[in-house]
Amino acid sequence: MNAQSTATKRPARETKSAAATAFINARIIDPASNRDEPGGLVIRDGIIADVGPHLRRNAPEGASVIDCKGHVLAPGLIDAQVFTGEPGYEHRETLKTASHSAAAGGVTTIVVMPDTNPVIDQVSLVDFIQRRARDNAIVHVHTMAAMTKGLKGEEMTEIGLLKRAGAIAFSNGKTSVANTRVMRNVLLYSRDFGALIVHHTEDPYLASSGAMNSGEVAARLGLPGVPKASETILLERDVRLVEMTRGRYHAATISCAESLEVIRSAKARKLPVTCGVSINHLTLNENDIGPYRTFFKMRPPLRSDDDRAAMVRGLAAGDIDIIVSSHDPQDADDKRRPFAEATDGAVGLETLLPAALRLHHSGELPLMSILRAMTINPAKLLGLHSGRLSKGAIADIILFDPGEPWVVNKDLLRSRSKNTPFDESKMQGRVLRTLVAGETVYQYGA
């Protein structure tokens, strides 16, 4: 009943004893085992054959050796919220371009959202995504299927059959299910199949015409606001429904301190509730909008810096489980409009890790906590066996230099859309190499 087929890249196994690759002289960081130490790692047949301090200088005989020069070797990142344009909006992004963008950002697994045209609400469309990803993508691609037909929030989708077809979780994409009865039934029904429900929580009536966070900045800019309560009201409702149904629930991206309180209390009551935060809400705030910069327009909107700091603390405390890029490619034309009329969303796959490293460099978050929220935590949430550097695990690995300074140039992004809020931003930290199932899919400078 729960069989899952995915577009996971299979390790190549043509030859019985394929040549091993050894990464030596590395700083191994593996949040799954709380490991942060000098060491090395050996890959054979797309699988991690060995890892540990004993490999720091010694590579097995016959292995091709890569000297990591003390840089960080970590599990590949898992991004649970990526919007692409395939099918329907291929001019914004395809699975192929998204996967190249991911590889360059050190992301080895992406979960693509159902907000496409047509909406991913049928078995045949999950099949389509898996096939297209298998043929065109260079990282693992999993499908988040729609939980209501057409994302309309009215009738639930074939959650059982979609899960069998490989849907990894269910979401209503960028829209919230306003109808409480529908949400109750989705949670009840999904529980029978052990399916995870991922929900964007925003009361559509309260948030309706809002363009940015409701508050002083919006007041001065003369923009309609999205109150924080629009997020917490729906989140609190959902938690009550989880209490009633015991369905597995994940709040897609929370953005304010009040929401964190809701999550904390739900977890204290041992409810099957988790939550995520987007990299944008950890590193940016409403003041960044400045003179109506539409590349900072998103849902949920950027909040105050107090809220941002609360998100960072929530992550440090483990109340927030995962970090997502919320990668959302949009046309330049749709962004170059008066602020209130511009589309929401920002690309983020390639800047995910460098932006997160800002929190490390500023001393706000330990590197281990940052990586945990992008590796083993999303792996556990989604039931993936990756996200860890353990013997026998699939060799989804990144090598990065946490100190390398560079400046973001949007024109050099691999994403088909260039709507990054980090254009011309100074970053510190860069991915040097990305391996998916033991194969190098990205190498800096190559």
């Binding site: 037909k149 989708t157 959650i159 059959l161 009840l188 029978d192």
Partner: protein
């Protein structure tokens, strides 16, 4: 509740009405089933008619459309020589705004002996019974009770299996809205069967474990080793996304096909109260298979309703 009117010690069914199966003893149920068993054999003879209800008037008062149950009661009453009147609700004063109670009082004034009532609201039949003098038989009230269905199902099982006690019965489908399930759980438990219910969580009531049955949300597990698989009808308006996503998904996970049936005992029987949605809750191959007793259920329906009318008639005032 049934009104116990213990008039004569020797009466085996000392009730004025049959409103619910709740509270009936195994002895009372078996008395009705024994009576019905004989009726079933008689009904297969050429001379089917008896004089038990001669001179008595029965009104079929159906507020909810029904072909099967209404005609089954009509045939049962006619085989016992009663005069039968079918109230067509769509043309009655009910459509003109008359309340349930007023309708009851009006009919009561016509001095019928037995009224058979079906109503879409749970509890409506009991309310009506409080207001009228004659015997009332519940032919289904909302999602509450359908006593004669449970009795005819028990008789069908007893005739097919020789007993009810000790059997494992899996009731599968829309438990939430089913008066058939609620009635069957009670009767089968009273007769000593082990009852399982299986449905997606959206089609289970709150606290389903309190109903007296083992609860499953995985039908494969529910039918494992069952002696009887009883399917329920899924209403069309509940199929497209509100309670279950689609007929396709429902059939896949909760429709009885050969594959799921193979998990039950090799001699398991298949039941359905009808009318069936072929390809939704039951595959045609299963519905028409030799293990299916669905047609026998219809036959037993007439026999059981005759037994109920006969038992109640014995308690009617003599003139």
């Amino acid at each position: 509740m049934t009104n116990a009117v213990a008039k004569v010690e020797t009466l085996h069914f000392p009730h004025r009405h049959l409103l619910t199966v709740e509270g009936l003893s195994a002895q009372e149920i078996n008395f009705l089933l024994d009576l019905a068993d004989r009726n079933a054999d008689d009904n297969r003879q050429a001379g089917k008619k008896r004089d038990v209800l001669r001179g008595r008037t029965l009104i079929n008062l159906f507020f909810e459309a029904s072909t099967r149950t209404q005609s089954s009661f009509e045939m049962a009453a006619k085989r016992l020589s009663a005069d039968v009147m079918n109230m067509n609700v769509s043309t009655s004063s009910v459509q003109k705004g008359e309340t349930l109670i007023d309708t009851a009082m009006t009919l009561n004034a016509m001095r019928p002996d037995i009224i058979v009532v079906r109503h879409h609201a749970a509890g409506a039949v009991e309310l009506l019974a409080q207001k009228i003098d004659c015997s009332v038989v519940n032919a289904g009230d909302g999602a509450h009770q359908h006593p004669t269905q449970a009795l005819l199902d028990a008789l069908t099982i007893r005739r097919a299996k020789g007993r009810v006690a000790g059997l494992t019965v899996a009731i599968c489908g829309d438990i939430l809205h089913s008066r058939v399930a609620r009635s069957n759980i009670v009767v089968l438990n009273t007769l000593g069967a082990r009852v399982r219910i299986a449905a997606p969580s959206t089609l289970l009531p709150a606290a389903p474990d309190r109903l007296g049955a083992e609860v499953f949300t995985d039908m494969w597990k529910a039918v494992e080793g069952a002696d009887v698989v009883m399917m329920l009808r899924l209403q069309r308006e509940r199929m497209e996304g509100s309670y279950v996503p689609s007929t396709r998904e429902y059939f896949h996970f909760f429709g009885l096909d050969q594959e799921k049936l193979a998990r039950a005992k090799p001699d398991a029987i298949v039941m359905h109260p009808g009318p069936m949605n072929r390809g939704v809750e039951i595959a045609s191959t299963v519905a028409d298979h030799s293990s299916s007793v669905i047609r026998e259920q219809v036959e037993m329906g007439v026999a059981v309703r005759m037994a109920v009318l006969e038992a109640l008639a014995r308690n009617l005032p003599k003139r």
